[in-house]
């Protein structure tokens, strides 16, 4: 296993906010084709660490590698261009814009020829067609009208649009921040199926979640974050939810028997 190269890795990442150390020499590894869950108590610094990977936070120290190459992201745009898509907890959707507009926000397709080049006219038909294709691929075509405003969708449908956007454009890694936190039981189920669907197509996924049943159900490995650093990585088949909670709250020390390979 050790010769496997991580898709995305972090080494000795440090981030201070004033006198607070949010990330304290943290490590991180995501391997090809896996779902890596990241768990940790509130304030453990898991969000900050994930943000360094998605470009939203610039670390003070440390090294981030994407497919073995050292990268320095200074904005989410750069991380996206490198192939890392993030679905933020607040979804980063514009409620008043349509589903198609949202999926292509920041990477619109322009018409070819004069209209596109000089009038910078958008190719709406192409964008709507691709958006519809991507949504159907993920079984989300319960959404009736691709031109309807995102604010008219339910929470699960919005999450679906955000995940579909990430799946459509993420070429290397997808990061999902608390994708089921605001959803009901049935909607959570849909989103989890969506996540597994995306993984089955070979896309590695980072899943940040507080929901232990969800984490244990879909994750291949679980990264436990505590006090600003990676405490250990456990195998959900070898450890229990109880173990995981005990580890992230400090009630228990990591044991080699539950470690992931």
């Amino acid at each position: 296993m050790s010769e496997r190269q991580p898709v995305l890795s972090g080494r000795n990442i440090v981030k201070h906010y004033g006198r607070v150390t949010a990330i304290d020499h943290a490590d991180f590894d995501l391997y090809p084709g896996e779902i890596l869950a990241v768990i940790g108590d509130n304030g453990a610094g898991k969000s900050s660490m994930i943000k360094t990977l998605s470009g939203a936070v610039v670390p003070d120290e440390g090294e981030i590698r994407l497919n073995g190459e050292v990268v320095h992201f200074t904005s989410p745009i750069e991380a996206r261009e490198a192939g890392i898509e993030t679905v933020y907890q607040n979804l980063a959707l514009s409620p008043a814009l349509s589903i198609a507009d949202n999926m292509f926000l920041g990477r619109e397709i322009r018409k070819s020829g004069f209209a596109g080049k000089y009038l910078r006219m958008l190719d709406r038909k192409a964008m709507e067609r691709i958006a519809r294709d991507k949504l159907s691929e993920l079984g989300l075509m319960t959404i009736q009208n691709i031109g309807q405003a995102v604010e008219t969708l339910s929470g699960g449908q919005r999450q679906g649009v955000a995940v579909a956007r990430a799946a459509a454009f993420g070429s290397k890694v997808i990061i999902l921040d608390e994708p089921t936190a605001a959803l009901g039981v049935k909607e959570s189920r849909k989103v989890l199926e969506l996540i597994q669907d995306v993984r089955s197509r070979g896309m590695p996924i980072v899943l940040i979640s507080h929901n232990m049943p969800h984490v244990f159900e879909v994750a291949d490995r679980i990264h436990v974050h505590r006090l600003g650093k990676r405490l250990c990585v456990i195998d959900p088949k070898l450890a229990t939810m109880n173990d995981a909670v005990a580890l992230m709250t400090g009630a228990k020390k990591p044991e080699t028997s539950m470690m992931a390979a």
Binding site: S94, D101, R107, Q144, E151, R189, F216, M241
Partner: protein, 356 residues
């Protein structure tokens, strides 16, 4: 596996039997008001259009001579300048900002265009070009203060309003350039005041300019990526940023375009007034905001059609003209405008409830 896990992990097993049509979009019965609400939510310009039509019809009955081509075209002439300023104002308000400096920029630029042509003998087209560049420059200043210094747009433009007003007095020496002087030295500056007839209607090029600006902005806002970004920023700036929009750059460009449009309004205003006066259009600032609000653009940003403010400006013009022709005291024009604003924002709030 401990007992806890096996007990916990089975908790969703009953979901397999649940209704499979869960995520289907269920048609809701909304009733008449609900249907109206959804219709207006989908097409926000319809409120001002309906108000405009109703008010035209009402004043047509109430006021003699109101419903003539001449009077209706006169209304368009009267609202052209405020309408153009409202176009600039709309862009800024769509990003959830506000621009209090539009009228001050317009008057200052008209003074710059006038003085450069008349006092300094610079060729008029060059003077106009300098004016347009200065107008964009005022927008650049506003935009940089909003994005780089992170001042709220209200404070930024409250400040620059005063600054531009002071510069306006400095550049003009508080003197008016008279109409006759312009006719001999710089007739091009009065271009947009020139009239032409279509049937009984008397239009100016300023009216054509206003309509053209709104049509162009409509295209840009609805058919280009930049336009979608403007809406996205006004809707939720943080979300737009995370979606990969360079929000600061877009915001600066919005303020610059607004400044440029104010400079175009300056040129048109010289034609409308006939002279260059540093004290003209004192109320145009608030009138432009009024037109935008009545036009159904949300002050909270991201919502509304750019065509709304043109119609909003026309509604104010129709009320003023209709009440005047009906022989009503001027104070009731203000009274009516006040209620129009409150009505428009109340409708906006009601329509926005749909999203919650």
């Amino acid at each position: 596996m401990s007992e806890t896990t096996s007990r916990d992990s089975g908790y969703e097993s009953s979901l397999k039997d649940s209704d499979t049509a869960i995520a289907a979009f269920q048609p809701r019965h909304r009733g008449f008001l609900g249907t109206a609400q959804h219709f207006l939510h989908a097409s926000p310009t319809m409120v001002p259009v309906i108000v405009l039509l109703l008010s035209v019809i009402a004043f047509g009955f109430a006021a003699p001579n109101f419903f003539s081509a001449f009077n209706l075209s006169l209304i368009m002439q009267q609202v052209a300048i405020v309408g153009i300023l409202a176009a600039a104002q709309s862009l800024v308000i769509l990003t959830a900002g506000i621009d209090l400096s539009v009228a001050a920029v317009m008057v200052m630029i008209s003074v710059i265009m006038g003085r450069l042509s008349v006092e300094f003998g610079i060729p008029v087209p060059v003077a106009i070009l300098i004016g347009l560049i200065c107008g964009s420059g005022t927008g650049l200043l506003n935009g940089l203060l909003v994005t780089k210094v992170r001042l709220p747009p209200f404070i930024t433009t409250l400040g620059t309003w005063n600054i531009f007003l002071a510069l306006n007095y400095y550049f003009s020496n508080r003197e008016t350039i008279r109409s006759q002087t312009l006719d001999t030295d710089a007739p091009l500056l009065k271009l947009f005041g020139e009239r032409f007839n279509i049937g009984g209607a008397v239009l100016t090029w300023g009216v054509v300019l206003m309509v053209a600006i709104f049509v162009i902005l409509w295209f840009v806002l609805n058919r280009t990526a930049w336009g979608r970004h403007v809406y996205a920023i006004g809707d939720d700036k943080e979300a737009a940023e995370l979606s990969g929009i360079r929000t600061d750059r877009t915001l600066v460009s919005v303020y610059m375009l607004a400044g440029l449009i104010c400079a175009i309004a300056a040129w048109a205003s010289i034609g409308r007034v006939g002279s260059v006066s540093p004290t003209s259009f004192f109320e145009a600032n608030l009138e432009s905001i009024t037109a935008v609000v009545i036009g159904g653009i949300s002050l909270f940003g991201g919502r509304g059609s750019i065509m709304g403010p043109m119609i909003g400006a026309l509604i104010v013009g129709v009320f003023n003209s209709g009440l005047r022709l009906a022989g009503v005291d001027v104070l009731w024009q203000l009274f009516a405008t006040g209620w129009l604003i409150i009505f428009a924002v109340a409708i906006d709030q009601w329509i926005r409830k749909i999203s919650s």
